[in-house]
């Protein structure tokens, strides 16, 4: 907690017994004091990456793990000084809350009086004052994870590793705990690595996010980078909802059957190559619904279905493409299936993938 630690993975790959590579060789640097989120679908290698950093798995030959300037590649977890929080809490059922929290301190042979004081401090830190004597099975899921967090922080680890810590909790609790966790991580300034498959969690907690796909890093960046400037189709699809329309490039815009989409950087046009097949992407919340007869309408479509979600309304609009365009609006209004509406996407909200990914496997 005092001096933050930087972590480096150098060419770390992991192949399990059955021969299937769980992780292709990756390089990753975690800055001191930052919260780095490893995000991806199950089986993408995010947990394997975390376990490599923890020392619960070891990289294939050639891979190296550095904590600051120390090469810890061959050190097992108990020698690495990490704190870890698990999805299923992993609290010791044979110990009370206090004994759980003090376990690491006891291993380090801290005197009992000092331990007791430390337990109180930690319980207060995770808002569980006075519960030190409870049995583990008397706690709710949220409380259990708070105890697990206190236990991991008790030994003042150099890095905090969190493996889907909120996944086992229900939605409301998850949000509260996420907020507390966020506050705590900022306050402590500890280097933290957080694994999740929940993009909301990733956005809320991460200083930077590493999106992973099939054992590779798909993109590293701030939450804004990832959301507004996805580096690949996979990232675009995985994070949030993304509309995708295909058409032909013209100067300054993309011509699609139902109208036009402005292209700011107009890749095709900039290269002097118009009349190319291209795909543009935009987020549902960036689409504006405009009256049919105004000059602002750039696309037209028929409403297929509407979902009122309280704070917003989600519309599926048929623009004559394979997939309907999804529109989310905070405007109060009622739209009906079959109604024809005008749409407009501001130029700055339109994304195009870098060209190298573009020619690859395209799922139209």
């Amino acid at each position: 907690m005092n001096s933050s630690l930087s972590i480096k993975l150098l060419q770390c790959a992991k192949t399990f017994g059955n021969g299937a590579p769980a992780l292709e060789p990756i390089d990753l640097e975690i800055h001191p004091g930052e919260t780095l989120v490893l995000l991806g679908p199950s089986g993408c290698g995010k947990t394997t990456t975390l376990r490599l950093i923890a020392g619960l798995e070891f990289p294939d030959a050639g891979g190296r793990v550095l904590f600051g300037d120390d090469d810890v590649t061959d050190l097992p977890i108990e020698k690495r000084g990490v704190g870890m929080v698990f999805q299923n809490y992993a609290l010791f059922p044979n110990m009370t809350v206090g004994e759980n929290i003090a376990y690491g301190l006891k291993i380090r042979k801290m005197p009992a009086a000092e331990r007791a004081a430390r337990i109180d401090t930690l319980l207060e830190m995770v808002h569980l004052q006075g519960l030190g004597h409870r049995r583990i099975d008397q706690l709710s899921g949220g409380q259990k994870q708070r105890v697990a967090l206190a236990r991991a922080l008790a030994v003042e680890p150099r890095v905090l590793l969190l493996d889907e810590p909120l996944t086992a909790l229900d939605a409301k609790l998850r949000e509260t705990l996420r907020a507390d966790l966020n506050q705590l991580l900022r306050k402590l300034g500890i280097t933290a690595i957080y694994v999740t498959h929940d993009q909301g969690e990733a956005m809320a907690l991460g200083d930077r996010i590493v999106v992973m796909e099939r054992g590779k890093i798909a993109q590293i960046g701030t939450p804004q980078d990832i959301y507004y400037r996805p580096a690949s189709e996979f990232v675009a699809d995985f994070i949030g909802t993304m509309n995708r329309v295909s058409g032909v490039t013209r100067v300054g815009h993309l011509q699609i059957p139902a109208g036009i989409v402005p292209l700011a950087n107009a890749n095709g046009a900039a290269n002097g190559t118009t009349d190319q097949l291209a795909t543009a992407m935009f987020r549902p919340e960036d689409v504006e619904i405009v009256p049919l007869d105004t000059a602002g309408a750039e696309m037209f479509g028929d409403v297929m279905s509407t979902f009122f979600m309280g704070d917003r309304t989600r519309l599926l609009v048929d623009v004559g493409a394979d997939m309907p365009v999804i529109v989310e609006t905070r405007r109060r209004g009622v739209w009906h299936a079959g109604e024809r509406i005008g749409l407009r996407v501001p130029e700055h909200a339109v994304m195009q993938l870098p060209v190298q990914h573009f020619s690859g496997e395209t799922r139209a």
């Binding site: 399990f16 619960l56 977890i77 299923n88 992993a90 059922p93 291993i107 099975d137 008790a154």
Partner: protein, 267 residues
Amino acid sequence: MKHSLRFYLQLTFTLLVCAFLIVPVVLSVLAGVTENFFVGLSSGFTLRWVAQVWDTYQMTIWRSIAIALACLVVTLLVGVPLAYMLARHQGGNSRLARVFEELLMMPVAVPGLATALALIMAYGQYRAFRGSLLFILVGHVLFTLPFMVRPVLAVMQSSQLAVLEEAAASLGAGMRQRFFGVVIPNAASGILAGALMVVTLSIGEFNITWMLHTPLTMTLPVGLADAYASMRLEVGSAYTLIFLLMIVPLLVAMQWATQTSRTRVRL
């Protein structure tokens, strides 16, 4: 309350089966405290036979208890680490672990006489060993070990032990600290169930022991056979009574232990 005819038929059947099983036990116990069983209960009750058994066969009782306790110690020392190894290796390449577990059950499936004969053929020429209680202990350990490993393994598999150990390791605990501080306490219910099972089975073991014993290493069940074969029926029955007094509390304790372990697992 209206119960169907079917209910009463089932009840009658159940009671009949119970009676069928219990009556011999009751008769045997009664015979042990009756003056003369062939005359009947009218001959009066006595503790004479119990006292005679105590005088003649006391040593077999102490011997059986000693062997059972030694057997418990050995199965604890061997069985708990063994279950731990099996539990840890059941993840990836579990084939070997499964085969090993099956092999472990072999002495239970193979008739005790065969096991005993094999032991005698292999180690019979070592006179001192052959004539000692150790020889019988070996037979008992072979037979009871799976009954220690099984319940311990079951508890270890059901209580996310692997993750608990990872958590302990992340807090700096080494291999030994994890085993004694986390693994053992969390497998306690299985260990207790296994321990009671081992003691019960060892005290009652006859097949293997009968083949392995010498007149100087006679155990309780073997003594019982001896008593029925060579003494009055009342003496054998009094012997049975003493045996029951030893074994029933163990059985009750075993029931209690499995029950608590089941509640633990549910939590």
